[in-house]
Structures are given as C-alpha cells and as structure tokens.
C-alpha cells in the first residue's frame, strides 16, 4: 500500500555513485502492484540504470498515463517530480514539459493499453516529433486495473485468463516506433535485467526519441497457459539480437570484448554503445533492416529483443523548433516582453 512509508535509514556502507547517492536514493515508495509483477522488475532496472549513470534524481521528470504501469513512477526516483496524467495522453504532457525545460531528463512510462489502445495517436506523434525522452512501455497485453481485458498488443489467438480467445491482430509498438521515426528502438523482457539495464542507460543518454518496449508479464491476468505474454512463453520465444554494454563518455570503464564481436555505436552526446553481436548480419543502425528482421522473426513466433535500431546523430524537437537552450521558466520580463516602446511603434502601424 502506498501509505506505508519505506524506512529512510539505510546501511552506512552502501556504495555511493559519482554524484554521492546510494542506490536507495533512487527508490520510491513501496510498490502496490501484485507480487511478482514484471513492472516492479522494470522499476528496479530504472533505479539501477539511473544510479549507474550518476544521474541526480531531481534532474529527472517522470511522467505516465493511467494503468498499472503508469502507477510505477511512484515506486522509483522518489526525489523526482512525477506526473500521473490521463489515460493514453502522457506523450503530449511530456512534450509540453520538455518544451518548457530542456535541461531535465524525461522518462515516460506507459503500458500497452495506455500506449497502443487509447493512446496510440499520441504515441505516434511523440515519436515522429523526436521529443528527447526515454519512453518505456511495460507491455503485458492486458488491462490489469480493470481485471484482465485484452489490450491492442495482445497476440491474435492468445487466450485471456477467462478463456476468451483474442481475434484481433496485435499492434507491435517497436515496429511502429521504427516506422514513425524514433531514433532509438529497443525491446526487452522484464525478467532479463542484464539486457534491460544497459538498454535503459543507452536510451537515457540518447538525445532524441528513445523507445523501449518491455514485455512484462502480468502475474494476475496474463501468466497462464495460452497467454503469449507469460514468463514461460517469453523465455521460450525470446530471440536476442545483441547483448549490450553501455559506456558513458565520462566513465572510465573499459570493456573487454573480443575483436570482431563488438560494434561500437558512438552517440551524438559523445557516449558510446557497445554491442555484442549475436548475429553477424544484424545491423542496429539500419532502420529498414530492423523492421524486416522484427517481422521475419515474428512470423516464426519469436520475440526479438535487444537494441533494434539506433540513429547515432538524432535530432530532437528543440532542434526542429530552433529553441534557445535552457529552462523557459527562468526567462524574465526582459527576455519575454517587447515593452511599451515596441508597442507604440506597433500601434502607429495599425492606424
């Protein structure tokens, strides 16, 4: 329950990161989600990623829509401002927030109902606008808060807990994000922390619209035989295109990978993504190839995970709009108001 406060005390020897915070400083309140919910694993991965990236928690703005997934921002980064908006419309609020202050890091957390059903329109437009953010969809194919209805990502032929078979085609948000122009598209599994944490780190450092679709089984309504978003099903059908390590430029960590096995993708902000290729042929910088590959594997019943696409030189909405850097909320009258002399001149021209 959210009214149970977490104890603030923590062990004095907990490791500090370079900005002086322990991992505990990145936590939020106790989760109210069901025990074993994949979403909690994603929250843990976000906490891990932010701690490892030395992000000051208050520099993050976390926004969500409505639904189980959208509740999760309460459970991480307790010292960040959060905004639980309305169903399916977090992207527009995040866009506005980002326009107002480009200095913060924007983390959008959403669900499959929130993004693929009611919010598909806003999802599409926030991707095509290139809003600088990390947009994570916690995807379980089901509406949890209203007790088990299918969402638009539920696979055709999959069964609900009550035995209803879904007849509609699923929407694949990763493919959609690619088509819409997202400059970073990844997919992962809530149970694969090794893959998820570096993916989130890379997305955060990416200076453009970064999207991660995380398959996150719903233990209450979508973890049974017949579901295609259960733990067992995903473990059996997961096809990882690459294993990643993410190295921010400021960090001195080096990675010991054998030559020929690693692709380094240098991002616009100077940070580098190191990708261990499992498939020699997979090129995460080719948008069209990525779309084809996802579709091909999907036809084989496989869920492709990993970094699917990255544009190393992304442009974001602020570049498109040619806005000045910095927070608009710091602009004062001198910067915003043209003043009375300009108005007198203008009046003269209107006679």
């Amino acid at each position: 329950m959210t009214f149970i406060a977490k104890p603030k005390l923590h062990h004095p020897t907990l490791a500090l990161n370079n900005v002086g915070y322990t991992r505990r400083d990145y936590e939020g309140t106790v989760s109210t989600l069901c025990a074993g919910c994949g979403h909690d694993s994603i929250s843990a991965a976000i906490i891990q990623a932010c701690w490892e990236l030395d992000i000051e928690p208050h520099r993050v703005a976390k926004l969500s829509g409505i639904g189980c997934s959208s509740k999760t921002p309460t459970y991480f980064l307790g010292n960040s401002h959060g905004f639980n908006t309305v169903h399916g419309r977090m992207p527009s609020v995040l866009t506005g927030a980002n326009l107002a202050n480009s200095e913060l890091l924007y983390l959008g957390v959403s669900g499959d109902g929130d993004s693929a059903s009611i919010g598909l329109g806003q999802f599409a437009h926030v991707m095509r606008r290139g809003v600088n953010m990390t947009y994570i969809v916690e995807n379980n194919g089901v509406y949890g808060l209203t007790k088990g209805q299918f969402s638009a990502t539920a696979d055709q032929g999959s069964k609900s807990k009550r035995g209803v078979v879904n007849r509609d085609s699923p929407i694949d948000l990763a493919s959609l994000a690619l088509q819409l122009g997202a400059t970073f598209v990844g997919r992962s599994f809530s149970g694969d922390k090794q893959q998820l944490v570096p993916l989130i780190k890379a997305a955060i450092e990416h200076q453009g619209a970064a999207f991660i679709d995380v398959v996150s089984p719903c233990v209450a309504f979508n973890n049974h035989a017949g579901s295609t978003k259960s733990y067992d099903y995903i473990r059996e059908h997961n096809e990882a295109v690459n294993r990643l390590d993410f190295i921010p430029l400021r960090s001195e960590i080096t990675v010991d990978y054998g030559k020929g096995e690693v692709t380094a993708v240098r991002q616009h902000d100077g940070s580098t993504l190191l990708l261990r290729k499992l498939h020699e042929s997979y090129d995460p910088t080719n948008r069209v190839a990525a779309m084809n590959y996802i579709q091909e594997r999907q036809a084989q019943g496989e869920i492709v995970t990993g970094l699917l696409y990255v544009d190393a030189e992304p442009q974001d909405l602020h570049v498109h709009l040619n806005t000045r850097p910095g927070a608009f909320n710091r602009m004062n009258e001198a910067e915003l108001c043209p003043g009375s002399a300009a108005l007198d001149k203008l009046n003269a021209g209107l006679r």
């Binding site: 609020v93 927030a97 107002a100 608009f328 909320n329």
Partner: protein
Amino acid sequence: MKPLSAVNDFVVKFANVNGSGSASANELFAKAIIRMGVPVSPRNIFPSNIQGLPTWYEVRVTEKGHLGRRGGVDFMVAMNPQTWDGDVKELEPGGYLFFDNAKSLPASRFREDVNVIGMPLTEISNSTYVDARERQLMKNIVYLGALAFLLGIEHTEIEKLFSEQYKGKERLLDSNKKALRLGRDYATAHFKPVGLKVERRDFVGDRIFIEGNSAAALGCVYGGASVCAWYPITPSSSIAEAFAKWCQKYRVDAETGKNKFAIVQAEDELASIGMVVGAGWNGARSFTATSGPGVSLMQEFIGLAYFAEIPVTIINVQRGGPSTGMPTRTQQSDVLSCAYASHGDTKHVLLFPEDPYECFEMSATALDLADRLQTPIFVMTDLDIGMNQRLCKPFAWDDKRAYDRGKVMTHDDLENGKVFGRYLDVDGDGIPFRTYPGTHPTKGAYFTRGTSRDRYAKYSESGIDYVDNMSRLLRKFETAKELVPQPVVQQGSHKSKLGVIFYGSTSPAMSEAMEMLESSRVYVDTLRILAFPFSHAVTDFIASHDQVFVVEQNRDGQLRTLLVAELNIDPAKLIPVLHYDGTPITARFIVKEVSQMATALKVTPMRKTVHGGSAE
C-alpha cells in the same frame, strides 16, 4: 421613392464570391474612410468553405462611432449572381444597388424602390488586363474606384494605402493605381455622386484598427507566454498564426538566432491542451487557442489541470454551436461548457473581452491569473471580435508591470527551511505553493496526479482528504473573485428600476442600444460582466433593480443560468434577451426586445420628487 441621403452614417455591403480576391479591396475601402477621420465598423460574413461560395463584407460608416452591427443595407455592391435575390431584398427602401452590368443576371431583377447603378466592371477589367487572375483581382479595384467617386471617398487616401501595402512592389502598385483610376474615370463620366456621402472628420483619434485574434496573440507575447500548442479550428486558428508572426518579430534572440518560444501544431485538441498542461506544470507560461468543438475535446485535461492545479490559458474564440454548428458564424454559446468544463465538480475562471484592446489586455492578464491561481483560465472571445478588424484604443503596456508568477517555492526557500506541502493552504486563500521540477535535490519534489491526494500530494482515497481538498479549491475560487477584472456599471441618465447585464462582443451594440432607448425614454442601468466568478458588484446590481435583462448571443441564456446558479438569484428577476442566428447582435434588436418587454412589465422609470409639475 426618395433616394437615401446621409453623411457619414450608412451601411455598405459587398456581396462577393469566396476566393475572388475581393477581401483586400473591401478592406481598403474601410481603411480609406478611417483615414478620413470617420469611424467604420466592418464585418466579414463568410461560409465554411475555401472557394466558390458566397461571402460578404459589411461596412458600417458611423460618424458617431457605433461599432456594433446596425442591420439593414443602404448601398449594396452586388457582385455575386448566386446571392442576387437575397442581396437585393436586404436593401433599405431608397437604397442603392451597384452591380456589374457586363454580366448576365438572374431574371428577377430590380426592386422598384431602390436606385440601380450598373457598371461594366468585367468589360473594363478585361479590356485592360490580360492575365485571368489579374482581371479578376483588378475588377475589385475598379469598383473601389467607382465607389470612391460615388460616396466621396478621397482618392488620395486609397492611393496612400496602396503605397504602404505595395512598398517595393512597383508593378503591383502601378497596376492597382491604374484600376482605381479606371473605375473613378468611368464613374465620373457616367454617374453622379449618390446621397450617401463620406466627409472628412476628426473622429477616429488615436484608435487602432485590428482583429481580436491578432490582438490576443500579441497579448500572449506581452504576457510572457513561451509555449503555444494548438490545433487548427475556425475561428481561432489565426491566433496561433499571429502568435508565430509576433514571436518572429519580438522573440528571436538577436545574438544566437534562437527562438525564445516554442509553437507546436499538435495532432488534435487533446494533445494541444496536454502540451499546455505539461509546459504549465514545468513553469513555462503556455496557452492554446481553440473554439467550441476543441473545448469539448479538451474536457478531460481541463479537469486534470483544475484538480492537479496547473496553470493553463485557453483562448476560446466562440462560434455557432452545438456540434459543428455554424463554424463561421458568431455566438456566445460556450459559457456553461467552459465554466464547468470536465466531469465532477469544477469551476473555471472566464474572462470576457469586449474588443481587440481587451483581447490583448485579457490574454496577458489570463497568463498572470493562471500562474497566480494555478488553474485553467479561459479567455472567452468570439468570431465577431476575433476575425473582424475593429477600431479600439491603442494597446498600452506599463514597463514596470511584472509578471505574477504566483506561489512558487524556490531552491533557496526550501534550503532555508520553508515547509513545503503541495496542497497546503498556507495563506488561507486556497492557493498552495508549488515547486518547478528540478528545483532541489532532496526537497520539494512531489507527485502530480488527477487522483485524490492529501495535503502533501500523497495518494489518498480518504473522504476527509478529498473534502479538504475540494473545499480548498472553492476557497481558491472565492479568491479569484477579487483578482479577476471587475464589472463596469453605467447608470442611465434617469434613475431606473431596470438593469441590463451584458458581456463580451455585445458591448458596442449595447452602448448604442442604451442611447436609442434613452431617446425613446426607456431608461436602464447597465452592467458589463468582465469575468466569472462574479464579483459582489454583480449581486449588488441585480439586487438594486427590480428586473434585469440579460443580453446574450445564445439560445438558452447561458450567462443567465450561471447567474441564477452561482448567485442564487430568483430566475424571474432575470429576463433573457437572446440573439443566436449567428450574426452579431444589433442595437436595433436589443432596443426592440428591451422596449417591448419593458412596456409589458409596465415599469416606469422612477422619478425624483415632482416640484411644480415638472420632473427634475
């Protein structure tokens, strides 16, 4: 039938076809008269269409300066065969019908009681210009030249306007001047000036001539709006377009060339208000402009902004509803849907500008109020003010005016130990403190949500917490009463038991109506409402009159309903005067309705004590 005769007091109407390029000629006509020191009040009457359908431009020439629509037409420039019959019918007896006799006209012809002036406009234009588009455009200038002669408008004023308009475009300038001369020369040779005449005066003063939408956009620039998100909808689109234009002029950093503003044309109204909410949450002044159907789509977010207490400014340029209604006609029919927008118990602040000057002023004020009250503020303008140029006071700005950023707790406040509870009513005015995201590493962060919460922003479904919050929001609304623009009361020349309440674009028609009523010895006091919530002056005004007419441009008397509901007024005391055919209300209409009902009420104006048989 005696031809109409008047100096500086008549109505000219141009009946054209949408897309024929007449707008510019017609506007020049109006402006030339203003330059002669005579006030005009022009109105566009246009269909929801790009090309081909009928469009009208009506100019009221008015020495007395009445800016409302008068009704009736004295001089019709009938350039559209499609609307011929209706146009001819609209003429006042003794009026003038000017038409292009080079074109065949419908068989129904001419009325016996009007004066017909036929001129071969197409022939003149075609014999001079080769290009088809130029022929079409210049025909409009040819009739302008003829009208200048017929009505006594100084040719040199029109030429001066050409020079300003086509500065640096010599070819266009020459071509226009030539067409003007062709029209004038033909008219001089074939006609005599008519009985309607424009004579030079000095009655315009320092007033400016501008559309309300452009003025509202400028108000947003001066008021410090830095984020605008919008979705195109008639009649509000020109606000965002004008905002972009003004920002290009005033808000580009001279050194870096970077924009000190962000404008996004959203995918729909839901996204546009969502962006405004996000920007407002993050401390930037932000606004959207829309019309009725847009407000309908924004309802959910408006409720969120109300409950989560986020500054939002919405400029609603009202049009004819419900549904798609009459998209290019005017109404004041969103009063209730804005006052109580969204589900649950909500109340929103509405501002009612009367003209472009107040569109400017109130848009800037709305941004202050939004920050101060941390809530949505609606600027309730309409098509009549928004899309018509109107004479108004010149814009003014006090350079000492500081933006009211409201109650924002800073890093230093938090550092110095100030207690922060997002929904604490620390000052008893119902307004809590907020922090901008990113303010402090360990203090002041909170979670914003549309769900119920306690005073410290913690999620709570406790009934006590909910009621505490909702009643604080009511206290905040009470505070708003003192902060919003106060109503304007005008006493009649005789003490009266009759009052009239009106608001927004009805203003010019009402002030003219008051004069007309007085001349027929019906005396009324008036109160112009500038904002909702209603201040105590409104209650006092109603209490001090036996009957109060509420004049508005909608079917159901929406402001009246709001007065009854919010001030607990006996409905019988408020008499609706309703005009809702989509055209701007006229003084004639108000006078007719009010005087008829006043007679029916058998209410005579109160007189002072009578001495020696004569009233003082």
